[in-house]
């Protein structure tokens, strides 16, 4: 298979059309993406979507049926020319979620392993291991048996082991997920610093969106073996491209029908507009209307069924001034609708509300506002925060558009 895009020198990893099945189950269904040299790519997605399988294919621990993988200009896998390098020939580093620190070795033996198999002279191994152990904050643990380490320390050993031979590409499979929140935060920072210092390319698998956004230059969201979205963290976060991504990021997703499409939403609470954006007025199932920003390239036409995606934090709640009155009066011309509070839960600084609206329920996060279950409530949202997506968009178009944007 010829790669469709001409190779760009800045792409350190190139993956084209990767397919992998386990029996009848398709774990990867034609996955393609690139990773820039020296950057971090986060693979994000729900459990079972194929992230680990993807990583294992890159590492050579799993053999795909179809596809092409190139690392640092070297083809390591190509189903058409039957190239398939063994894991040890791919010159990588890897950090597993389970650490995989060998319990029968000391810390130094664990970390020095990649150098030992490469027949590095003893003195040099010692020096490099000492240096990297200092770097990960385990300088004093050189000769300790690995079994005596705590979880966080084992994590560092695994990290040091993955970096000691200075691989150009390091793979992380949920590498920080077993740590407590504080340690995870700290390790994230350290990873960033290490990457600046050692200048490796990283592919980082996680199902924690905050971690992906914090660590990565680019984010890939996967769903059932294919890529939903590729993009910059900000874009993926603010402009989810597909309903799946919106749901995955925790947005409220409701169905509606397009009434009209325009450049300027006809409501009171809109912000200065971005010239590129297109807006649409959508009718919700019970007849209320809402203005929102169209999130995809090809705008829907009036009459199309679409999905309205609302971030919990972007919703404004207020007690309607006229109880039981007409909705538009209560909203005073703002973009929104009326609902009833069903339940609330206290989160500390904020409170999360479950609101019954026509055609479903909605979740909103607000500073504590004293609304009670059973109260009617006016829900308002700025049109630019209300994202309108159509369910049946072909993914190819999205992917291509975003690949261009990301590249």
């Amino acid at each position: 298979m010829e790669p469709p895009v001409s190779p760009s020198p800045s792409h350190f990893v190139r993956i084209e059309g990767l397919k992998k099945r386990f029996g009848d189950f398709v774990a990867l269904n034609g996955v393609s993406f690139d990773v820039d040299d020296g950057s971090t790519l986060a693979l994000l997605g729900p459990s079972g979507c194929g992230k680990t399988t993807m990583l294992r294919c890159i590492a050579g621990l799993e053999t795909a049926e179809e596809g092409y993988i190139e690392i640092g200009g070297k083809v390591v896998f190509d189903s058409s020319s039957r190239v398939n390098l063994m894991p040890e020939q791919r010159e990588l580093g890897i950090v597993f979620q389970s650490y995989a620190v060998w319990p029968h070795m000391t810390v130094a033996e664990n970390v020095g392993f990649p150098l030992k198999v490469r027949r590095t002279p003893k003195a040099e191994i010692r020096e490099r291991v000492t240096r990297i152990l200092k770097l990960v904050g385990l300088g004093d643990w050189y000769d300790r048996p690995a079994t005596q380490l705590s979880g966080g320390q084992q994590q560092r050993v695994a990290l040091a082991r993955a970096l000691v031979h200075e691989p150009r590409l390091v793979l992380f499979d949920e590498a920080l997920s077993n740590l407590d929140a504080q340690l995870r935060e700290q390790m994230r920072m350290e990873l960033k610093i290490l990457q600046d210092r050692l200048n490796f390319t990283a592919i980082y698998v996680t199902h924690d969106q905050a971690e992906a956004f914090a660590l990565a230059e680019h984010v890939v969201v996967m769903n059932r073996g294919h890529i939903e979205t590729v993009g910059l963290p900000r874009d993926v976060f603010h402009r989810p491209q597909t309903p799946f991504v919106a749901r995955f990021l925790g947005l409220n997703v409701h169905s509606g029908t397009v009434l009209s499409v325009g450049r300027v939403p006809d409501v009171a609470n809109h912000e200065p507009l971005d010239a590129d954006d297109v807006y649409a007025q959508v009718r919700l199932p019970d007849g209320e209307t809402l203005w929102g920003r169209i999130g995809q390239d090809s705008p829907p036409r009036p009459g199309d069924d679409v999905l309205v995606c609302l971030r919990r934090e972007h919703l404004g709640l207020s007690a309607p001034s006229v109880s039981g009155g007409i909705a538009t009066q209560a909203l005073a011309g703002r973009n929104g609708f009326i609902g009833t509070i069903r339940a609330s839960s206290f989160l500390g600084l904020t409170e999360e509300y479950v609101i019954d609206v026509s055609g479903g329920e909605l979740r909103a996060i607000q500073p504590v506002s004293g609304l009670d279950a059973g109260d009617p409530v006016a829900v308002t949202v700025r049109p630019c925060d209300c994202i309108i997506l159509s369910e049946h968009r072909t993914l190819k178009a999205t992917q291509r558009a975003d690949l261009k944007k990301a590249g």
């Binding site: 621990l61 063994m86 040890e88 979620q97 389970s98 650490y99 060998w102 319990p103 392993f113 031979h165």
Partner: protein
């Protein structure tokens, strides 16, 4: 006693205290533990005391003469040397074979591995004595089926193959003890976090390097546990040396002890031999405990992947299949074929000849000869009663070791595990010394006691490991819902323990059906077992021996089938 009475001068306090102690949950398990300890201490002390007694003109005297004469006897060193050669050879080969089989079955895509996985355990259930006899049919010099087959079909002479040799004994020992290593190794191989291997591969290690530096070291504790058991058990095994080495006058430790108590009996010499063997066994067992205590790390991670199955290349497939076929063939199929051939032949010449086909051997063994009839009945009785008694003891001891007072657990556990390595013939000797002047001598009861004493720790281990997996809160909640201790045992604990009880019972049944080492010293006219009858018949007719062996084999394979059907597991701890 007086201080006790003073400290608790309040009479009501004293009754309260006493009634606490006399609660059934304390007393009943304690009975099991006390019986277990008496069963161990009795023969041990008897052997020890007998070993330092010498009978002279004026009665018994304490003396080290038994030891000095033993230690100055060159036969002693020959026997020890031969035993060491046999058990070391068997240990090394069993480890190689056991690890290879476990790895092939658990980690590769070898065809038929599900089937082989079970088949590899069959030798575990068979009788080593019968196996050795079958191998004499297969591989006796000049007249074995194998030699005849090769010279008849290929014209190749395999005259150099002689099963009556140290090499032959090592071979048969290996066939029977490979499943021990296999069982120990397959569990960690299967549960091992695959990331441990994958990390090595990604960081630059080849397949072979990963095998040598990661996989084998990680399962080393399991390999060594298996190795020690194979070493100790095959050093003390009487059956195979009796069948393969005694005919050539090759001395070993167990056969020397046996001949020491034959007429003219020298119990002092046998006891001294036994004491030395016990000391060595106990030292080995303690060393193993210490080693495992230090190195028992956890190689199973919380959320790992299933270990990857390795896709074998054609050459690898052929090699793996050959390995399996050679093992199952040598350990199960060929011996059974040989036994069947011999048992259906009126004359045995080392070739199967349909002219000599007959049922007479079975007819004689089953209906015509009172010794074999008696032996079959005795063996079945001993196995049924012995296995039941053993499992009851195991439950009581398991309860004590897992739910009883914590203070003495470790010591009692160590004490109760002592017989695990002690050769059957030495324990038999101890009971013989104990019982020889009592009415117990020459009864089935003494054989039964010896069986239980030698083998209850196997059952206790199996049951105890199941106890570990049962949350005590299950029983506590039964108690707080108003059940008495007895009801809790009957309605909650025993049903939960059932898989391990079935496994332990079947294991004891199998062991007792085939036991020879202890029985050979304790049997008398009327209390022969199948294995003893096989030994007695071996001087008379190949056909009778083979027919009786096939009958024993059916009992053992029956137990194996029940074992598979009950889905009980051979828990290793």
């Amino acid at each position: 006693m007086a201080t006790d009475a003073m400290a608790h001068s309040d009479p009501s306090g004293r009754t309260a205290r006493r009634s606490r102690f006399w609660r059934p949950q304390v007393i009943v398990p304690l009975v099991g533990v006390v019986i277990g300890i008496l069963l161990i201490i009795g023969p041990f002390l008897a052997t020890l005391i007998r070993s330092v007694l010498v009978w002279g003109e004026e009665g018994a005297a304490v003396s080290a003469a038994n030891f000095t004469s033993l230690l100055s006897d060159p036969h002693f060193y020959q026997a020890i040397g031969n035993t060491l050669i046999c058990s070391t050879g068997a240990m090394v080969l069993s480890c190689l074979l056991g690890f290879s089989l476990a790895w092939v079955v658990s980690r590769t895509d070898m065809p038929g591995r599900g089937w082989f996985e079970i088949a590899n355990l069959i030798p575990f259930f068979l009788s080593p004595y019968v196996g050795a006899i079958a191998w004499t049919y297969l591989c006796a010099p000049n007249s074995g089926l194998i030699q005849n087959f090769f010279s008849d079909t290929f014209g190749i002479s395999l005259a150099f193959l002689d099963i009556y040799s140290l090499g032959g004994a090592i071979w048969v020992l290996t066939l029977f003890y490979t499943p021990y290593v296999y069982l120990f190794v397959i569990a960690p191989l299967r549960r091992m976090d695959a990331a441990l291997e994958d990390a090595a591969r990604v960081h630059g290690a080849s397949f072979g390097y990963t095998m040598r530096h990661i996989v084998i070291p990680l399962v080393m504790p399991a390999i060594l546990s298996g190795a020690l058991i194979v070493f100790v058990t095959s050093a003390g095994l009487f059956d195979i040396p009796l069948a393969l080495l005694s005919p050539r006058g090759i001395r070993t430790m167990p056969t020397e002890i046996y001949s020491a108590v034959q007429y003219p009996a020298d119990f002092g010499r046998a006891a001294a031999f036994g004491v030395l063997a016990m000391i060595v066994t106990v030292i080995f067992t303690l060393m193993q405990r210490r080693y495992l205590g230090r190195r028992n790390y956890d190689i199973v991670s919380g959320k790992g992947y299933r270990p990857r199955v390795i896709q074998l290349r054609p050459a690898g497939r052929v090699a793996a299949l050959t390995l399996e076929i050679v093992y199952i063939g040598s350990g199960v199929v060929l011996p059974i074929i040989a036994l069947l051939m011999v048992s259906f032949s009126s004359i045995w010449t080392g070739r199967f000849n349909s002219n000599f086909l007959t049922m007479e051997n079975y007819n004689y063994v089953l209906f015509g000869y009172d010794l074999t009839q008696r032996a079959i009945v005795n063996s079945i009785q001993l196995a049924l009663v012995g296995a039941t008694v053993g499992v009851v003891l195991a439950v009581l001891q398991g309860y004590f070791l897992n739910r009883g007072p914590a203070r003495w657990r470790a010591w009692i556990d160590a004490a109760l595990s002592l017989p695990l390595g002690i050769p059957g013939i030495i324990l038999g000797l101890g009971f013989l010394i104990l019982a020889i002047r009592t009415p117990l001598y020459s009864t089935l009861a003494i054989v039964l006691i010896a069986y239980v004493a030698r083998f209850f720790p196997f059952a206790t281990r199996t049951v105890s490991s199941m106890f570990l997996a049962i949350n005590p809160e299950l029983e506590q909640s039964a108690r707080s819902s108003g059940a008495s201790w007895g009801q809790t045992m009957r309605l909650v604990l025993l049903p939960l323990l059932k898989p391990s009880l079935v496994a332990a019972w079947l294991m004891l049944f199998v062991i007792f059906i085939r036991e020879l080492g202890a029985t050979i010293l304790l049997y008398a006219q009327g209390t022969e077992t199948i294995s003893v009858a096989l030994v007695l018949l071996s001087e008379r007719s190949f056909g009778y021996v083979a027919a009786l062996a096939v009958i024993q084999l059916c009992l053992l394979l029956g137990a194996f089938v029940v074992f598979r059907l009950s889905r009980a597991s051979l828990a290793q701890s």
